[in-house]
Subunit: 288 residues, 4 copies
Amino acid sequence: MNQSPDTWILAAQCPSVIGTVDVVTRFLREEECYITELNSFDDRETQGFFIRAEFRPQREGFDDASFQARFAERAAEFEMNFELTAPGTRMPVVIMVSKADHCLNDLLYRHRIGQLPIDIRAVVSNHPDLESLAQWHNIPYHHFPITADTKAEQEAQVWQVIEETGAELVVLARYMQVLSADMCEKLSGKAINIHHSLLPGFKGAKPYHQAYAKGVKLVGATAHYINTDLDEGPIIAQGVESVDHAHYPEDLVAKGRDIECLTLSRAVGYHVQRRVFMHANRTVVFPN
Amino acid sequence: MNQSPDTWILAAQCPSVIGTVDVVTRFLREEECYITELNSFDDRETQGFFIRAEFRPQREGFDDASFQARFAERAAEFEMNFELTAPGTRMPVVIMVSKADHCLNDLLYRHRIGQLPIDIRAVVSNHPDLESLAQWHNIPYHHFPITADTKAEQEAQVWQVIEETGAELVVLARYMQVLSADMCEKLSGKAINIHHSLLPGFKGAKPYHQAYAKGVKLVGATAHYINTDLDEGPIIAQGVESVDHAHYPEDLVAKGRDIECLTLSRAVGYHVQRRVFMHANRTVVFPN
Amino acid sequence: MNQSPDTWILAAQCPSVIGTVDVVTRFLREEECYITELNSFDDRETQGFFIRAEFRPQREGFDDASFQARFAERAAEFEMNFELTAPGTRMPVVIMVSKADHCLNDLLYRHRIGQLPIDIRAVVSNHPDLESLAQWHNIPYHHFPITADTKAEQEAQVWQVIEETGAELVVLARYMQVLSADMCEKLSGKAINIHHSLLPGFKGAKPYHQAYAKGVKLVGATAHYINTDLDEGPIIAQGVESVDHAHYPEDLVAKGRDIECLTLSRAVGYHVQRRVFMHANRTVVFPN
Amino acid sequence: MNQSPDTWILAAQCPSVIGTVDVVTRFLREEECYITELNSFDDRETQGFFIRAEFRPQREGFDDASFQARFAERAAEFEMNFELTAPGTRMPVVIMVSKADHCLNDLLYRHRIGQLPIDIRAVVSNHPDLESLAQWHNIPYHHFPITADTKAEQEAQVWQVIEETGAELVVLARYMQVLSADMCEKLSGKAINIHHSLLPGFKGAKPYHQAYAKGVKLVGATAHYINTDLDEGPIIAQGVESVDHAHYPEDLVAKGRDIECLTLSRAVGYHVQRRVFMHANRTVVFPN
């Protein structure tokens, strides 16, 4: 299910019309590309079309630049946006954290063993606590404290790291600060947050305490793209766990760690493998 | 896990103090009652104590009236409310439905094979559609149409059926009318509703359509006691199912049927086996 | 996710070579067929290719006979077997049962509300017990008793029903007799059994009792095509439920009913929507 | 749910007779101990009784030695074995690994943040690979290579570490060697293994490859006490995950890592909190 060392990914979206699948698959055949995985979805609500193909070029000397140029002509007829991803690509990532380290620890582990095709370029935090964890994994750690007064300045520092590292994805791995609207816009479609509840239930602060007060029998976590509405961005993945009356808020916090890690790493994996498409305020996800 | 044909249930609750378990277990031993299942919970938040024992009298001629009288003395010291349930008790139930029949069908089936220790005395509906289903199971069916103008009158008819059948539990098995505050109060702790979302998410009408619009990746159902706040009563059980972008609202409706049936029948089973305790706006549930 | 009233299904399989997707999608475009759902899988182990498309003809006067004739030419180049299914097709089915009625009840319910596109032509049993259930749903019920001596004769009776009803699928909904090798061969790829364990664990008789003896913490059910090796046919779907030490065999039996129903109906749904492909002793399933 | 800083655990088992609960709860009341969590199970099959209480002494100067001495008298009447665990106890543990590090990484993390009340005294491996991981957590790492010829000698080295560290639990966190019968006996009830299948399915080597070959739709992991029958010891916990035809063996390996970690850490947590009782070849587990 993971991308093989010799497969390319073509991901594309466009308005729904007849022939959207054919324009992709015919081209791949003409280019002597062998399709190993293919997913498409035609959304009758929004008239949007989404397709993702993994393929192996069969012909010697596959040239991606000319492949793209040739496909661009076909795609133009369909107003199709597409992206081609080379074998072995690891997306540059910046991770943002505060004090809780479970999601960071999990992402660093998956990164270390190669389970997630990401290249963690930096860890940024408003606290110094997790520096040694990052260091052991040889990842630069930036401690940028934040106060109400210094928010703009701190975000500028964060943004500088994102730019300098060339990060294409920012993962908010339990970063406990609300980003400014400006930052949210700059990161639109490029930042994934983990919220520790089954959104839209229990938005905002202390969702496990809210869940306890409500007496729910299931708790969960939601990984979503951020946007300017807090905890309202397009959902990528959700996970859930049973609980009962004997779980006090701190028990929910403990129990929730596993779901948060699993849900966030799943969403990051989908994103970096180009399995996620945003449209309107929802996502199309082709899972593996 | 189901009550054995010769076991009694003692369920009790009282304020937390030392000795609350002992007062029950010591008494059972003195009465030569063999405990086959025991659950207790001491809620540090509300200082409430909850206990449930299943037991088999070992002595010939167990007399429940005198058992209750004797235990009442002990219980009084602890301000303990208790309830004793005889082997083989089937709780009298009235089921309320509208047009959707999946939950009714499921409850009738479990009733028929004896999986739920309930005695369905009547099915009440604001529509005539499900009469033949009830009839095949030999359950009286009452069709009480309702309009905005006749709500009070219709509820009076429903209440009469509840009273005449001696129902101790009303199950709202996809009854699509909002009960009046007066009716809710009369049924407090005695009526279980199934709502087709993971409360507190998606309260009110058309929750699957809300879920679709929001783009969630999990849908669910919540069985709860009703109270005067719509979809806000104490939660007994919740169930969940994965969905994706390709599930349109009508697919969620179809997929949700199974979760609704399972969640509702589970909650009803817990209730009639005296496994549920309400306190504040939450429940303590000792599952099997 | 369910087939729309105006969509056709094309399901095909062939050896893996380049162009297998294209031959299907190009043809559909040429025929002005709009693809609404597309799934394909290329099995690198067996070099088998599997594809399923749902599509809506856009051109007036779609003629399936000529469509098939034209596509057959293209398919021949790829040694591709294919099957075209018209909108609204309900597969003729015979259900076989013994005494347990939960799976039958569940299938009849889903049939009645139109959730499963099947046409239940007959229920066959070696016991008379479930006749009234079938009758209420207006399904003919055939009671064919069986003994060791009359097995061949009984199976001949069953076969006659299958033939006379034109059944294309036989569902063994807790039919507690082992079919003869001859019968298994005649029903190869056309009969789905539900076994009440997570195969390959606990084959054969009384799997819940085996599970209890082993002390497992999960029990499950497996829906599979039958073949001449008992409980060894290709698996279509599996379901699972948590249990604990307090679940005696009869509790597992009770708890397992729901999983069996859900797993069997899921497998039947996949099969009749042409979402399942058998190859070697495994299946490819494109779920919805 | 986790043991509070001031609660003691009393865990006991004995043959089933009347009064087994009472002997515990009455004593706790007499000693002015406040029960915060109580679980009991009376096994009708084996006539075994199991009880676990968490309690807070209310009286000043609780003396565990005299508590134990006094309770031992009562327990003797019931042939009851019991164990008292002080608040804040962290069980000394040795972890055995080979080359796969996911379970080790997970246990070290939970140990580091205090989620598991264990004191990891050493990591032992037949390979050198995981030394730096242990070192970063300040845990001694012993590399004891093994060959068919040196097995007895190597196990003697391992045993020496177990003895010298005072380990009360050995966790086989993907240790890929079969322990000798002698070693298994010495570790009876004190060693937990994680096997990467849903036992009893797919015992022995390469279970994910077996699962792939069989075409199952669910894979899982089983944490169990070891005994002299390979992969046959009493099961403590099992976890499961859905898979499909597109998961090749290496995908199952990747997908299985999370289940293995979760299942093993859950089993270890139950064990060290005295929530597990072995009897016959099964376990009684009182989960939290």
